[in-house]
């Protein structure tokens, strides 16, 4: 392809985010709700860790705004939550890269939990919080999925020469 490295990288990254967004709003049965991983957050954490020079707070924020629009939630709440985990991941990306896979997964659990807690808190302010603990289970599922997603995204990054 005649695309520059930068343009191609951007396209590939955008593609992974699009897939994550589609997976997020894919209509699963209602009971699976508490087991749906936070796809966008996971993809964001990966890219922030792998290439923090290209993907960071701004990317997270933009993905969050798109998520807000798709969900029809208050504009800015997912944006804030994703900007937060992008910030944390970029801040600690050197440590994260050194961690063994399972330890990374634990950090991912914490990051996604922070994301969801922040969302829950914002929803509480506007009086729309659900009366359930189910809000925290997605972070556990996200943790379990992380090792596999990590391998997939790493292969995509290497094959596509994303940097």
């Amino acid at each position: 392809m005649s695309l520059s490295v930068g343009a191609r990288s951007r396209l590939i990254i955008a593609g992974t985010f699009l897939v994550a967004l589609v997976l997020t709003i894919l209509p699963w049965p209602v009971w699976t709700e508490q087991f749906r991983p936070s796809w966008v957050a996971l993809v964001l954490v990966y890219w922030c860790m792998a290439i923090p020079g290209r993907v960071g707070v701004g990317t997270g924020w933009t993905a969050g705004i798109i998520l807000d629009v798709l969900y029809g939630s208050t504009l800015g709440e997912n944006a804030l939550a994703l900007a937060l985990i992008a910030f944390l991941t970029v801040r600690f990306h050197l440590q994260l890269r050194m961690f063994p896979r399972w330890q990374q997964a634990v950090v991912v659990l914490l990051l996604v939990a922070a994301n969801n807690l922040l969302l829950l808190w914002i929803k509480h302010l506007s009086g729309q919080a659900p009366a359930t603990w189910g809000y925290l289970t997605p972070s556990i599922v996200s943790m379990l999925i992380w090792p596999w997603l990590f391998v997939i995204l790493r292969d995509i990054r290497r094959h596509g020469n994303v940097s």
């Binding site: 699009l18 967004l21 589609v22 997020t24 709003i25 894919l26 209509p27 699963w28 209602v30 009971w31 709700e33 508490q34 749906r36 960071g56 707070v57 701004g58 997270g60 924020w61 969050g64 705004i65 798109i66 629009v69 798709l70 969900y71 029809g72 939630s73 208050t74 504009l75 800015g76 709440e77 944006a79 804030l80 900007a83 937060l84 992008a86 910030f87 970029v90 801040r91 914002i122 506007s126 009086g127 729309q128 919080a129 659900p130 009366a131 359930t132 189910g134 809000y135 997605p138």
Partner: protein, 347 residues
């Protein structure tokens, strides 16, 4: 470092960026929650990202085709047979309904209140995408061009499903009665006891709050919309009481009810345009023990204060300004037969 035309610009640090974007998010949220300035931007963005939703809706749509294909002729014939058998029964019911409606209109005329007026109803197709976790929302493929408005009741063949919460260009958002941010005024069909049904986020239950232990409500009671608040028309089924827990430590009963509408049915919903007259609750709820309050056409159920003017019964159609309660009654003057109040016998 970024170099533009020989100028060196330092890129903001990670923390600075986060603070900036966080401030931006917070101001967006405040603008979005408190005002309506962002509606146009949101509508534009929704159109821009609609393809993502369309892609996400593909599996279910394809699944539907496959199911239809596999089911084949026999199942379809059976279904047609069943529908054909059902039709005369429904038609018969409908005939009786017409008669009842006429009678109802006549009675209301005698009372001096306006009759229920027929409503426009339109079916809307759903876009099968997941709602935000633990919210109960739908996206329908109708928008501003179809005269939708925020707060519009959404029903199905069995009862009330929710209301339109956001009108976009091509699609709109519907918030279901089970959404944690939703509440609908209801009354027990049996005795007119009024309550509010709150959504909890659970897919198949609403909770009825603020009823004391002495309230006359039983498991199995049908709750219909009471029409108070002016959003939903009176008399549509909402939910059936499923469980009542009386905990003496709590001041109120803990009641959960199962919505009557098929909330998980992902095919179609009905949008209705209630007319002003239909929004008015019936003149007398059974729960006030006052003798014959129904005689008073203007005064809505609650206020006993206006009762003393017993002899002034024919007058009521006019004195709108003083009583805020009379407001809904006065709004549809066109439908009200002009002569009725005067013709009414004085009690």
């Amino acid at each position: 470092m970024l170099q533009i035309h020989g100028w060196q610009i330092r890129l903001p640090s990670n923390l600075t960026r986060f603070v900036l974007f966080a401030l931006l998010s917070v101001s967006l949220m405040l603008l979005d929650a408190r005002g309506h300035q962002l509606e146009r931007i949101r509508a534009g963005l929704t159109v821009l990202f609609a393809p993502i939703q369309l892609v996400a809706a593909i599996p279910i749509r394809v699944g539907g085709w496959v199911v239809d294909f596999v089911r084949g002729d026999r199942a379809l014939q059976e279904e047609a047979e069943r529908l054909r058998a059902e039709r005369p029964i429904l038609m018969a019911k409908l005939e009786r309904y017409d008669a009842l409606e006429a009678e109802n209109a006549h009675l209301r005329e005698l009372l001096g209140t306006s009759a229920l007026v027929a409503e426009k109803a339109v079916a809307a197709e759903l876009l099968e995408v997941a709602s935000e976790p633990f919210r109960r929302t739908l996206i329908i493929a109708k928008g501003a061009k179809d005269d939708l408005y925020v707060g519009q009741p959404v029903i199905d063949a069995y009862g009330i499903r929710g209301q339109v919460s956001e009108v976009g260009v091509l699609q709109s958002k519907v918030i279901l009665i089970t959404d944690p941010g939703h509440a609908i005024p209801v009354q027990v069909n049996r005795n007119g006891l009024r309550a509010i049904a709150f959504g909890t986020g659970a897919p198949d239950s609403v909770s009825i709050r603020y009823l004391t232990a002495s309230a006359d409500i039983k498991v199995g009671d049908l709750l219909v919309s009471s029409g108070i608040g002016g959003g939903f028309p009176f008399g549509y089924p909402v939910a059936r009481v499923a469980k009542i827990v009386n905990n003496p430590n709590e001041s109120f009963l803990d009641i959960s009810a199962t919505p009557v509408a098929q909330l998980s049915n992902n095919r179609e919903v009905m949008l209705i345009w209630p007319t002003k007259a239909a929004l008015t609750p019936p003149p007398k709820p059974a729960e006030d023990k006052k003798p014959a309050p129904a005689k008073k056409p203007v005064v809505k159920p609650a206020p006993e204060v206006k009762k003393p003017v017993e002899s002034a019964a024919p007058k009521p159609a006019t004195p709108a300004p003083a009583t805020p309660e009379a407001q809904p009654k006065v709004t549809p003057p066109a439908i009200e037969p002009a002569g009725t109040p005067a013709a009414m016998p004085t009690p």
